[in-house]
């Protein structure tokens, strides 16, 4: 216990285990730091920057930055909320995210973050990219229109499923999630119950024929904003 680390987040004193990231320590203390590419149980990737906080005044990604004694962390500030809003906004406009008929709606972390951050309409023009849908697998499909390149499927496939189904190819605007078979998803050893499928935060990688089986009102984010479970866990204690 003596080696616990003490730091402050938005003025509140919290404690961290050695080796914990700021994001993990905050979560344990009931403070939600928005995130997208980070997922419990997977290695950190540090790509989406939604978890950006200020550490002693300098911007850092909370999901990769280890907690250190005496750190002064800013999380829920006007400036950071605006930064996150812009990041989410850009993810929306650079893909084709039509929430109105997406089966992940109400259950999608991207959409839920947009709601939590108060985004009602994007401030940048839509790019309407041409993206492909790969439905060659009998149990799952990937709709790249909705991919935000978070890499969660890539890591989950390797780290949890012990497979290498997904990876990234291309650069910049041409970057996309690829599968390790020429013939598409159907040619890989992916399976419907793979953790990789469950890891996708959006409606990009999905099980087939599930669709809208969960009624409106019973979906994950129908009644409370994303992150509430972290905040409530603390307040209930």
């Amino acid at each position: 216990m003596s080696d616990r680390i003490s730091l402050t987040i938005d003025g509140r004193q919290i404690e961290a285990e050695p080796g914990q990231t700021i994001l993990e320590a905050a979560e344990e203390a009931g403070v939600y730091i928005p995130r997208l590419c980070w997922m419990k149980g997977l290695s950190a990737f540090g790509s989406c920057r939604v978890c950006t906080v200020r550490v002693n005044g300098r911007p850092q990604s909370a999901c990769t930055q280890p907690a250190a004694p005496g750190m002064v962390v800013e999380n829920d500030t006007q400036e950071l909320r605006e930064l996150r809003r812009s990041l989410i906004d850009m993810l929306f406009i650079e893909g084709n995210h039509f929430c109105m008929f997406c089966e992940k709606s109400g259950d999608c972390e991207l959409q839920a973050l947009a709601y939590r951050l108060g985004i009602t309409a994007p401030q940048y023009p839509f790019m309407f990219p041409q993206r492909e849908l790969d439905a060659t697998h009998p149990e799952i499909f990937v709709d790249r229109n909705r991919c935000i390149l978070c890499g969660r499927c890539v890591r989950a496939s390797q780290e949890l499923d012990g497979k290498h189904v997904f990876g990234f190819v291309g650069r910049g605007a041409g970057k996309k999630v690829a599968v390790n078979a020429e013939s598409g998803l159907g040619g890989t050893d992916a399976a419907g119950d793979d953790e990789a499928v469950a890891a996708c935060p959006t409606g990009s990688l999905l099980k087939k024929r599930v669709g809208f089986a969960v009624p409106v009102g019973q979906r994950r984010f129908d009644h409370q904003p994303i992150g509430s479970e972290i905040e409530q866990a603390q307040s209930e204690e």
Binding site: M100, F141, R209, V210, G211, F212, A213, V216
Partner: protein
Amino acid sequence: MSTPNTRRVVIEPLTRVEGHGKVTLLLDENNQVEQARLHIVEFRGFERFIQGRPFWELPVLVQRLCGICPVSHHLCAAKAVDGIVGAEDLPLTAEKMRRLMHYGQMYQSHALHFFYLASPDLLFGFDAPVEKRNVIGVIAEYPDLAVQGVMMRKFGQEVIKATAGKKVHGTGAIPGGINKNLSIEERDFLLQDMDKMVEWSRAAVRIAKDYTLDNLEAVAGFGSFDSNHLSLVRQDGAMDLYDGNLRAVDSVGDTIIDQVSPLDYLEVIAEEVRPWSYMKFPFLKSVGPEEGWYRVGPLARINTCDFIDTPEAEAARKDFLSLTEGQPSNVTMAYHWARMIEALHAAEKIQLLLHDADLQGEDLVADFGGRREEYVAILEAPRGTLLHHYKVDENDQVTMANLIVSTTCNNEPMNRTVQKIASDSISGAPEITEGLLNNIEVGIRAYDPCLSCATHALGQMPLEVTLVDRQGRLIDRLARPE
């Protein structure tokens, strides 16, 4: 069809019709209206947009076609998808929940049309000033009626919410079933107002009937003409708004087709393309493109069915048909009366369903049987027969979609109605009167057309009428302020 000897009268856009419409009247040399063309901007890009999407998305995807009757598209697509997955018999809970949703939709749509869009014409007369002949005028002079209209619409929307999860663009129907049942709380909430809804629907039938009978002389010929009528009917000939087979009768009630499965629609219906319109013209193949066009919607449904399986609506149907001695009614303005009979039927059906314990069942989705690559579903939407036809490949992606919406079926009938009204009005002087404008609007509105089947805003749109001679010169223009 335009000949060098015709002149054109252009009327645009129509007020109080969903979407945008523009009417061209083709005059011959003697200033007789030779033909009327209702130009409808239909959102056809949708069928291509659907291509490549996974088929289970269809019910939620296609309801975006329409902000007015999304539930009809939702359920029609769901029925088609049932066929794709081979779900032959839906569990009772699923079938009845979907029907409840459909009757809720029918009820709210008919209430919207009758009270918001049609009642100003009926209550104040077609020639009443536009400033008065609108829903605000109804609220001012018939406040009780206006409140009833609002409450009836709201009730229908609550039924939709309880079945689809949301009042507009919910998710309820899924392949082979439904994603929720009706909770006791939802049921009891709806039951609170149920008796009132039946009572008000009864009263609405009376208003529509009295209006028709009181003005019979003026109404009977107004935009009217003999036509064929088409709708779904149940196996036993009963009106069925959710499911059934196709039946068409001619203007005197003789059967043209009967009990034709939706899967065989291509054998009995074809669509004609005309160069001046994006919208197609469906017709019955056995009768041919010249005479084979038909009307759909409330009037057609009352004309085609043998009976209605709820007592009050059945009595109202008999009453309705007694005017034509049991034969089909070809009176265009009788659409309103027929529409309110259906609203009463929907209310009776909702009442029965709310007292049916099957709606609290837990078995929501059928087992999937043999997978199909193609399927066709038809249902009766508020405005008439709606058809969805899809093909799906081995990867579950949609490869083809064909939708025939009710407004398309009523395309030719609406043109006929406008032609009739215009030729009765324009004879001699090449000018557009306010009266003609009014009458054309009233005639088209009888069909309750949803002109764009895309996005549209409710409310008043400015009306502009232009009279152009055969050289394309502007002769007369009449515009309403925005």
